[in-house]
Subunit: 342 residues, 4 copies
């Protein structure tokens, strides 16, 4: 089969190689025929060697951690999916028996394995995964149209869900960055809460997209954004901030926009969240991190997608054009998310 | 009546002056005869001029924001307390009609006034306050024995209550600093949750007190404390940290002790909480500020005190000895909390 | 001024009398010029004498407990509203100092008074109430258009809010009865949750309205409704039921529609909820009562109304036509809610 | 091996038979050498044929659904337990892949199997179960001393945990029935909440035990109990009731003891909970069912047991004396719970 693989950290692109198809090796395993694999900024970081010390997959390494497709073959103990089923693949292979898994917190699995990051991923014709990672798709959803929901979308939904719990009618939530994750979070939050959504982005097209997707107000990002947000909210500030940028000043701006009792949700990274203890106390604010999402978070997101309440903007590439997709992503030319279709 | 007053920010002590007694000026007001007024580090900061620009009370200023005593006189609209009732005084005078008050979040009152900080406090024979600030004491509680629960205790209880919600059996909570607030928080947390309490303090006497009050483990604070905590928890770390120090390195140490999904509650201040966005995300941790507490938080704390589940360690001074109390507090000679009894 | 009053329980109608205007009698009181007063089934019950032993207002009695209008005059201690402000009136006059009030649970006020039920209500030119009962209207809302939200709408919103907390994407909520309360609850739930809403009503017009307001499915009520609901949900049943009927069999049907772990919210009354203990246990279901709503619940509902997310269907009557409105309500001729405009 | 088996619903006792030892039949299975198997009223009901139509196990049937012991042998895919480990056995064998399991709600497993009820149980030398059902015991816990915690204790803990969430300091919780489940719930609630516990029982010895275990007040059950509870609580009533009887009038008494906003938790069964809709609404009360407990509930309970915060009162019988144990249980002669030790 064809697979997009990283050969060396000294190169800035992938190779599309002919490799053997994966085979079932355990009773709970499943082979998925890939319908689409999302290309993510994390893939660029892998190629750049950013994760070299941390994840260190064996080279050549098949990338692709946002996968959807059809079940091809199942292990002897698999009971909930069958060949032919259209599925999306939760990004972590989890054990199901550690305490994290038993609590429903898949990302805290003590024995998790991350295809596409640490082991072979889905930017290929077939992926080897486990039954526990699979969610069957509703009849109206195409694998390639939802693949990036497996990771980018899941992260966006989990944080939107956390935020929605503290956002009653009359509250305001700022979303910083209406890109790949932000445009999903906006839709998910719209579905989960009647809060006023104030979308912040440096790019005008992103702000326009935000308005189309249901943002109540849009604000230009960058210098002076805190003042602009205060002005838009009658001097009050916002009850929650979801920051999908996490660098270039947003980690200072985000906490500074909050009302007393507010919460800053940080999802993007690069910067540091440096807030005096006295500010945390006087304003009684919180900073909350968020890490991808659980299997049941993804189940919920797919229910939203099946009802058309969350819709991904995507751009399709053949697997042979994977390096073109990478170049386009670097160049900011991708509309929404790039999806590789093998 | 006698009142302990600050005359000038150029002095390092208070004056005990003869001043007119306060009188009822509105229908909801109440005059409280003071049974005890706690002396707090914040009082030292007021004398030092730390709050000069922020609070700026008119000088001479009567200090004392941790008050308890007996109702002396009530305004025409007061219905829930009567002369002779023993009461503790919530530290903030609140309006009862703003949205913060209506939600039960007294500290978010849009029109609050802070006796002892911004207007005349309770280190005197009498205090003018409002009905909304008063909680009747159970028959077995003496005003002077509970006065510091009004602010120090309330802050400790609120954070213990927040923490208890995420601390099931088998979890561990670290308390950094077992002083005036910490020793209350420890008892409150012990009453609210079966979590394993790991008390951290630089001072051996404080660690001994922690053990007497029900800490499951004690650890010496300072350099290397993160390693010591990890060792005590089998390498795992703790599910929550409550930091009553908030400076001298604890704002780095606290977040570093957390397990994945853990929460760092910051109460002490002075330092800054500087954590990379990536750490918030990878560990899915949170930093949560906490600000004194609501009226109903104080009601709950007094219920614990009435059942002997929270007991304050206090040292009594006459009002004429207020400067001795101040000197003792600076010198670290106060056992528990100093209470001025007029 | 004019007022619609009940003279005797032996009559079946009200009298429109000329009576003295109410006057301010305490510092926290407010006189409201009525813009609209909702007519409610509870008013019919008052006229019928159903509440005679329980509420027993002095006769002649001014009815009207769903009021909105403009502030006419304020007491000396009132600070948050001023003459001319358009307001809606929370149905209970609360004390603000009991523990129920301090927790933000207005309906649990130990000293509450119910205008229109126990004391003079708002079906008149003017109403005497208290500052604590008033919420200022957004500029785009007319008093007469929102008056019934004060009680019927508030009850509907509170239960929708309780239900929304347990209704993630992919869940289903049945609403039994899409009348005055139900059509508000449907809109409120639509705003608060992406759950699938299944509306049940005996009347086809009500089912059509439900579809227009965003119900995902509609089902005819009455005999066999449990089977019809099971069929619509693939045999599964629903995660929550909100029952606005509470008699004529719905208290049996509601619990019987639930999935394991589901909740039956009961709002309508007349019948009894009789469920074997074994059923509660095996299915791990709950029955939850709900009582009008708090001030902050009403604040939230008005935020939804201001954003057009909740819209009341109303039919206007002059005060001289109040008995016509009563007749129409008995005859089932009122579209949505009847509002008396003095 | 020896096994206590039901041969026929026409007999009133079990047979201790020599039967083949169970063997591993799937990769996730585990054979447990039984250290203790609790004897439960449900076992009596099985013998009596009460469950005949519902569960209908193949006869002869090995009973025993409250099991603890040591791992004897493990299937090929088992990774978290090893031969020799002391373990307690969650009563349900769950699939781990259905949505109930993925949410951490084991009792909602779509494919669960109940050893001792529907398939062969643990009143024998060996039990066949699955890895997902096993929790390793802390070093200070003996299997036979904790076996009844697997089901009776788990049910008690789950309901205590639900109740604790709504029981702040100053609240009161009534426990009806301080028998096998009640005496565990009392200890669990004591560990989880500082609420005032009011224990109700017909039997004086049970009331004495309740006091020893930390009940704040005890009240004699039966006729007039509602008045007695009101009297003990100053006319107020209780915030929550946990009813372990569920018949003989307690399903009327329980709801009648509640304060406004209170919750009636029903665990025992036999009776019906028949409450007018109007009562649910006027008092805004709830009835909440509870079904055994999840794996993580049992993990928490074992943490409490390991810290001596929950201690089971048990009486030991050899497997050959199983019918003596049954007779003693019928005769009310068992102190705490009977445990069969093979």
């Amino acid at each position: 089969m064809k697979a997009a693989r990283l050969h060396s950290y000294d190169e800035d692109h992938l190779h599309v190689d002919e490799v053997p198809e994966p085979t079932i090796q355990g009773p709970n395993e499943v082979i998925v025929r890939i319908g689409g694999a999302g290309l993510c900024r994390t893939d660029l970081h892998i190629i750049e060697g950013v994760w070299r010390g941390t994840l260190d997959p064996e080279l050549p390494h098949v990338v692709g951690h946002e996968n959807a497709g059809w079940v091809e073959e199942v292990g002897s103990a698999v009971s909930t999916v069958a060949p032919g089923d259209a599925v999306i693949v939760h990004p972590l292979k989890t054990c199901g028996v550690c305490l994290g898994c038993r609590r429903g917190e898949d990302m805290y699995c003590a024995n998790g394995e991350f295809p596409g990051l640490a082991v072979a991923g889905g930017m290929a014709n077939y992926l080897r995964t486990v039954e526990r990672s699979l969610i069957k798709l509703a009849g109206n959803l195409e694998p390639k149209e939802v693949a990036p929901l497996a990771d980018a979308g899941l992260t966006a939904h989990r944080v939107a869900k956390k935020a929605a719990r503290i956002l009653p009618p009359g509250s305001t939530c700022a979303i910083i960055g209406v890109g790949g994750l932000g445009h999903i979070a906006l839709q998910s939050l719209r579905a989960l809460s009647p809060t006023d959504i104030l979308a912040i982005d440096l790019i005008e097209d992103h702000r326009k997209l935000a308005e189309q997707l249901g943002a109540d107000q849009v604000v230009e990002g960058g210098d002076g954004v805190v003042d602009r947000v205060k002005e838009k909210t009658g001097g009050r500030g916002v009850d929650a901030v979801i920051d999908f940028v996490g660098e270039h000043g947003t980690t200072q701006q985000g906490p500074a926009m909050l009302v007393q009792g507010g919460t800053y949700f940080v999802v993007g990274y690069g910067g540091s969240v440096d807030v005096p203890a006295l500010t945390y106390i006087f304003n009684e604010v919180s900073t909350v991190g968020t890490l991808v999402g659980s299997y049941t978070d993804l189940v919920e997101l797919m229910e939203l997608a099946a009802r058309d309440k969350v819709k991904l903007h995507m751009q399709e590439y053949g697997i042979d054009d994977v390096n073109q997709a990478i170049d386009d992503l670097y160049a900011g030319k991708v509309q929404g998310r790039a999806v590789i279709v093998p």
